[in-house]
Symmetry: C2
Subunit: 399 residues, 2 copies
């Protein structure tokens, strides 16, 4: 159900013809009138036309729907791409009698190819006709590109009687040239747009920013949060118990989607979770955590089942954040393998400590913890290992 789990949402997913495979590739998510939205978009300077369109519409009006096509990114397409984004969304808003400004757009797929407007024109009626309150599954499947499974999540805030649902896609920046991480989260709580944006920032931004499959920020990354208000009651006010519960439910859905994304990452055989503590600022810890989770040497070590503290120290030292090399502690799972910047002798002699760490490397989730000092700053990054399949997916199947 996911995005249609909360009241006040309908969704659909159909085959329009973007994907040669014939799998569903056009999705629509619509909130009831009064629904408000918040969005987080890629920081890539080369942003796609649908990202630019959605940014403008979110800033200007109160969009309550989003159309998603998978197979074409409509990125690096210039002003023609902007015109195509306008036209393609117009086909859909016309078909459902929606104000064009109320419709957001996400696109994921091949970069640079001009958008096939005819597929929007032909598919719009079917897409709208398929809308339904149980359409969340179809929507979640229609946004997939090289994802091997759909990613859906839901959570409740029973005290207040509202629900949160979500779905996401993304397995790497591109494969073969299929871009983008997309996530959609819905709730039926009553939340003014400005407060909804705050929840998106607080509960979703840092979470999704902690994900790194290959360090490649897509041109089309988007996270959209919708609140239909269908659960009724007073607006959820910042600081109230309802606010905390809504935040927790959104966080729970976001966390679940994040884990599902990391687990389905291109070629990944392990989820890699890097926690960094002891910096002055959280931001410094975040940079270090992403440097470790993104290091090809750490990633190949995880693929090879090697709890390699030297590679972690190397990545920490190269992160650009000033650290005292003589204060660095590193754990793999529960096992400390470097203390005060010195690697445990056991790692080389293959003693019991090393064996405990090595056995942790067989777990689906590999935890690396780094303490860099006594500061209160901390952060986390999620990623995956680097395997032959990443090279195969991104190298071999492009021609």
């Amino acid at each position: 159900m996911s995005v249609t789990y909360p009241a006040g949402f309908t969704a659909s997913g159909v085959t329009a013809g973007f994907k040669p495979s014939g799998l569903p590739d056009l999705g629509l998510l619509v909130g009831a009138p009064g629904t408000v939205a918040a969005g987080l978009f890629t920081s890539n300077r080369v942003s796609a036309a649908p990202v630019r369109l959605s940014r403008v519409r979110l800033a200007a009006a109160g969009p309550r729907a989003v159309v998603v096509n998978s197979g074409q990114a409509n990125a690096a397409t210039g002003s023609a791409g902007d015109a195509d984004a306008l036209t393609s969304t117009a086909f859909v808003s016309l078909a459902m009698g929606l104000d064009p400004d109320d419709l957001l757009q996400c696109s994921t797929g091949v970069i640079g190819e001009p958008l096939h407007l005819d597929l929007f024109e032909d598919g719009a009626a079917k897409l709208v006709a398929s809308l339904g309150p149980r359409g969340g599954d179809a929507f979640a499947r229609s946004i997939m590109t090289t994802d091997t499974v759909d990613k859906q999540a839901q959570a409740d805030a029973p005290d207040e009687g509202f629900r949160v649902g979500g779905c996401a896609k993304g397995v790497g920046m591109i494969a073969p040239d299929l871009a983008t991480m997309l996530a959609f989260v819905t709730t039926d709580a009553v939340v003014p747009a400005r407060d909804l944006h705050r929840i998106a920032q607080e509960q979703l931004a840092s979470r999704f920013n902690a994900l790194t499959v290959d360090g490649c920020t897509s041109t089309n990354d988007s996270v959209l949060l919708f609140a239909s208000g269908a659960a009724g009651g007073a607006p959820v006010a910042p600081g109230s118990a309802a606010w905390v519960h809504l935040s927790e439910a959104v966080a729970k859905v976001g966390e679940s989607l994040l884990r599902q994304l990391a687990a389905d990452a291109e070629g990944g055989t392990h989820v890699l979770i890097v926690e960094v503590t002891g910096t002055g600022a959280d931001q410094d810890a975040r940079v270090i955590a992403k440097a470790v989770a993104g290091s090809p040497l750490v990633k190949t070590a995880v693929f090879g089942g090697d709890p390699n503290p030297g590679r972690v120290l190397q990545a920490v030292g190269a992160s650009g954040i000033p650290v005292d090399p003589d204060r660095l502690d590193v754990w793999f799972g529960e096992t400390q393998l470097a203390a005060g910047g010195i690697i445990a002798p056991d790692y080389f002699t293959g003693g019991e400590v090393a064996e405990t760490a090595r056995s942790h490397m067989h777990d689906p989730d590999v935890h690396i913890r780094v303490r860099v000092g006594d500061g209160r700053g901390k952060s986390r990054a999620l990623g995956c290992d680097l395997s032959y399949d990443y090279v195969r997916i991104n190298g071999e199947y492009t021609t």
Copy 2:
């Protein structure tokens, strides 16, 4: 000959026992009395003990020799590592009757393992006894770890009668845990230490900093430049014709070593050369060039023979440098595949333009050029593609 090509240098390389393979693993390069040195070292905060020792000795005295062991990095070894660096160099300087402060040290190999001092003690006499004016080849081979070939270069400044030679090693940050890029350049020109440092900065720093195999800055990276003065004559003065010729010869040797390093990069099947023009400052161009050359998606595309302009645009946009996405031009070889941020339609339809670019991908050197505007800033990065072998070398053979 390489490092012993200029007059005033002797070198040697012997098997001391650091490498299980029994291949040469201890090298010594000595300049005649009066030789001056300049050094460039890793920016990694986790620097190795030999790097710290060499930094101190370069700042304090006038070192004229360097001992190199391959097989152990003496990094992440704490203050015991510093003591071991002192002791190990003392064995060598004692054996050759050299002031300890005159001897620099480089180490490359496994991170974290305590240095085998006995191997220095046992090997020092043989190492010193082997010193000779034709020892450059033996030295160049003794510093190799997973390098498949030794890297040597030489150049002349015939007008002034002086020579420049050099050798280097390094194929990735670590494999399996064998770290480090090392380069040694020698000349017999007469150059005061301060001016020599300037030449190292001007001709070697930016060149070696442009190299990225996997974006992983080693704990032990070092580039050393020695001038013996054995060619005689007046000191080479900044701004003189001799200065220009010396700079050119050092640049030529540096460039050759750089290309040899990129060509032998771990798992690399192509050298990747990324040129960026049109930024305001050179530094911005450098960041963009390294972002493109370091992008796993660009690297796998090069491995797959795909001249993929979308992945290049993605990497440029994500580099953190502000660029106008509508001004981005991209060439593969001589073929323009993106203009004004828009990808050439031919890339998708497989027309003649795309075929020309695709055939360039079979060349040993793949050239990617990016123009981001009208600024005068420009820079370059050298790297390699990302292949199965990189994953194999760094993933499988660690345990």
